[in-house]
Point group: C2
Amino acid sequence: MSKPRTVTAAVLLIGDEILSGRTQDRNLGYIADYLAKIGVDVREARVVPDVEDEIVAGVNALRARYDYLVTTGGIGPTHDDITADAVGRAFGVPVGEDPRAIAIMLERYAPSDLTPARRRMARIPSGADLIENPISRAPGFRIGNVFVLAGVPAVMQAMLDFAAKGMETGAVMLVETIAAGSLPEGLYGDPLSAIAAAHPNVAIGSYPSFKDGRFMNQIVVRGKDGEAVAAARRAVEAMVAELSRDATAR
Amino acid sequence: MSKPRTVTAAVLLIGDEILSGRTQDRNLGYIADYLAKIGVDVREARVVPDVEDEIVAGVNALRARYDYLVTTGGIGPTHDDITADAVGRAFGVPVGEDPRAIAIMLERYAPSDLTPARRRMARIPSGADLIENPISRAPGFRIGNVFVLAGVPAVMQAMLDFAAKGMETGAVMLVETIAAGSLPEGLYGDPLSAIAAAHPNVAIGSYPSFKDGRFMNQIVVRGKDGEAVAAARRAVEAMVAELSRDATAR
């Protein structure tokens, strides 16, 4: 069997509102889950404010390091929407009003309603391809390996459906979740570590949550080789069963 | 009036589960909101996986750039909890079992229940101060300007209460939100841009949300000078009132 190809991505969330606590981001989780399911592994995410230098630095750091970069936010009609200009600067290309984008927006707006603010949404870096926006028409765009999407979740999600068609994909990450219930992490940490060492082709994580005064734990096995994931899962399940018996017997 | 002092921070979220889409992060928004209210401005956030090199790079990039860095995740008892070792490496100091941490944990666990896995939670970089954990005892820690907190939200929040006492704080960001309702961003984008230009001591953002097939917008004015924020707020309110009259008259 050939080694499954790995395709990587990063996410750059752009917007003061996420860093001020005003807006609880819902885009990163959506994008991470979506891309994982099509075989693109999100490896890093960053959140930057509406400051051009910060956006440029984030775009250039992440696009160089991963196969793809997905950005959200900053492509609307107001003065704080500066993503297109920042991405143009990151790529060293001019940014101007794109006739294709104007044509799309004229399907929604009468020419007299195409205010200067709305025309801002047609500013696209030179050489970019447009990303369709079935919700409010003003498009996102792709330049090189960077996909520039809206920040409003409903619009971002529609754009991601379109953008994902343009991505090469790798082997899908297989994920198995084993409930450890109230079995304490501190009791299974040592045997789980041994299982992790014995199954180097998977990643094993332990995830506690705390509710109503007690911890409930889940153990997650992730990997791209189905047999390796299944073997690790069986080992974890056997460990949980054994420790649960011990706990009951005490 | 002296210029209000600005204190900055970054947040580093550590954990595969956030990048895989398994876990919807709730810590960034909480920390950003909490710190904003005490006069610490969160300027950047990053999410990295449970990979030591990535954690070290994130810690070093962010602690150098901001007054404080708050990390979440990776300080539990399982093999994937590697934050203490990574932070120690970032600071170039050894990491070992801390007798203070062991003493705290012995208040909860009988000596025979202090498994090797649980003792992992007492691994603290040399020179760090402990951060109290009233929920499950195993402490976080502070080293230099870096605060290392748990990933489980309830535990993180309790640790943040303790950690924040050790932070110097600056002027609190004042935030005024003006409802623009269904007034389109494309209609107010141009006058809002003029207001933003005329009020350089505040940051003005426009935030659409999309629900039940329509956009609803809010305009947010942020700044540290109360008079400047109030003046910008009045200008935005007058603009919204005027455009709303125009829209009704049409």
